[in-house]
């Protein structure tokens, strides 16, 4: 029962946060991916940095359960799937989480995204044996460095918890250093 209550509280907080940062709006996703307004990119980088710093910092102090980490396997299919997801994400302006949140917020095009998503997931369920047989799903669960007590081997021999804190600091620094936009404004376009 406790886990269901936590699911409701953390899930609702996540959905509200996605809405408030603009991630459920294809307009903000489009601005980020065309590199014309990196506000959302800065938000996400800062969020990952803050979450990561608290997690690794808390682990170092013994306040956060290392066993709560859940690292996914790295395999060739991650890259292929990432490319597919990236193309669809850019075209639709939604990813799985923000698509569901946007559908709930009343965006009608997000309902067709969710419907397409259910069909896409079903198509993967059916085609899974072929992928599994191809060897493209074979790999290992790795972190940058071995995190003490987490049970995942490190890609490098460096201490994973310290490296985690360093990466968190890098994410936060990049969030601050990223310019507001990268692509220059088209000639003749009015200034904001």
């Amino acid at each position: 029962m406790t886990t269901i209550i936590l699911a409701i509280i953390i899930g609702a907080a996540f959905g509200a946060a996605l809405d408030r940062i603009g991630a459920t709006s294809p307009n903000w996703i489009g601005r980020m991916l065309t590199l014309t307004n990196l506000h959302l990119m800065k938000t996400i980088l800062l969020a990952i940095g803050v979450g990561s710093a608290l997690m690794f910092g808390g682990q170092t102090l013994g306040l956060v359960e290392v066993a709560n980490m859940s690292v996914k396997t790295a395999y060739v299919g991650v890259a292929i799937g990432g490319l597919l997801l990236g193309a669809g994400w850019a075209a639709a302006g939604y990813c799985p989480g923000t698509g569901v949140a946007a559908a709930a917020s009343g965006r009608r095009d997000a309902w067709s995204f969710v419907a397409g998503g259910l069909l896409g997931a079903a198509a993967y369920m059916v085609s899974y044996p072929a992928w599994n047989g191809s060897g493209l799903l074979d790999g290992a669960k790795l972190t940058l460095g071995e995190v003490p007590g987490a049970g995942y081997p490190g890609l490098t021999g460096l201490p994973g918890d310290i490296l985690g804190l360093v990466m968190a600091a890098v994410m936060i620094a990049v969030a601050f250093l990223l310019p507001d936009r990268i692509v220059s404004r088209p000639a003749g376009a009015p200034a904001e």
């Binding site: 940062i21 991916l33 800062l46």
Partner: protein, 183 residues
């Protein structure tokens, strides 16, 4: 206007942290499979069956990892499924609290209208196709923007970095080709 990136980033970062502190890292895309399995099992009751140890399925994907997905579909009242439903509820409440979306945005986002005019059926066709490709890709990758990009890189998972690089490598050129007009 969304929250300033500094406040928004800290708020979202605290949510990520709360998830990994109290339960486990955030993930969404698996639940599309779980909902599919619930629907398919209702239509075709032989799909998911009970075993001595838990559940299994005639579908190899639902049966993998000891029938974990089959079990979650048989009992949808589990953390990950409720999490996604609550996420939808949280987004709705948040939108309503800030006065709701305008009818124009509900019909189609401004970026679409600026580039392709008021063409709702074209927009629906593209988001449907987009949804298909996104979820097929997410399941092949074993996670999506939340599970890999956010939760993965937060934990310094190599899979998270691979996914993030691949997703942006496809997303940036696609967006630049499709959405030339700024909003």
């Amino acid at each position: 206007m969304p929250l300033n990136w500094k406040s928004g980033g800290v708020v979202l970062g605290l949510v990520f942290f709360a998830a990994v502190l109290l339960v486990k890292p955030i993930g969404v895309s698996t639940q599309f499979v779980i909902l599919d399995a619930i629907i398919a099992d209702a239509a075709n009751p032989g799909l998911i069956t009970k075993t001595e140890a838990g559940h299994t399925s005639t579908n190899a994907y639902l049966a993998k990892s000891g029938g974990k997905y089959a079990g979650n579909a048989a009992d949808p009242l589990n953390y990950s499924f409720i999490f996604v439903l609550a996420m939808a509820g949280g987004a709705l409440v948040s939108v309503l609290l800030r006065g709701g979306l305008g009818e124009d945005e509900r019909r189609m986002p401004a970026i679409w209208r600026a580039n392709y005019g008021d063409t709702p059926w074209k927009r629906h066709a593209l988001t449907f196709l987009g949804g298909f490709v996104v979820l097929y890709g997410a399941r092949l990758a074993g996670g999506c923007t939340s599970g890999h990009m956010m939760s993965g890189t937060m934990q310094t998972a190599i899979s998270g970095y691979i996914f993030t690089v691949a997703a942006f490598a496809a997303a940036i050129p696609t967006a630049m080709i499709l959405y030339r007009r700024e909003v």
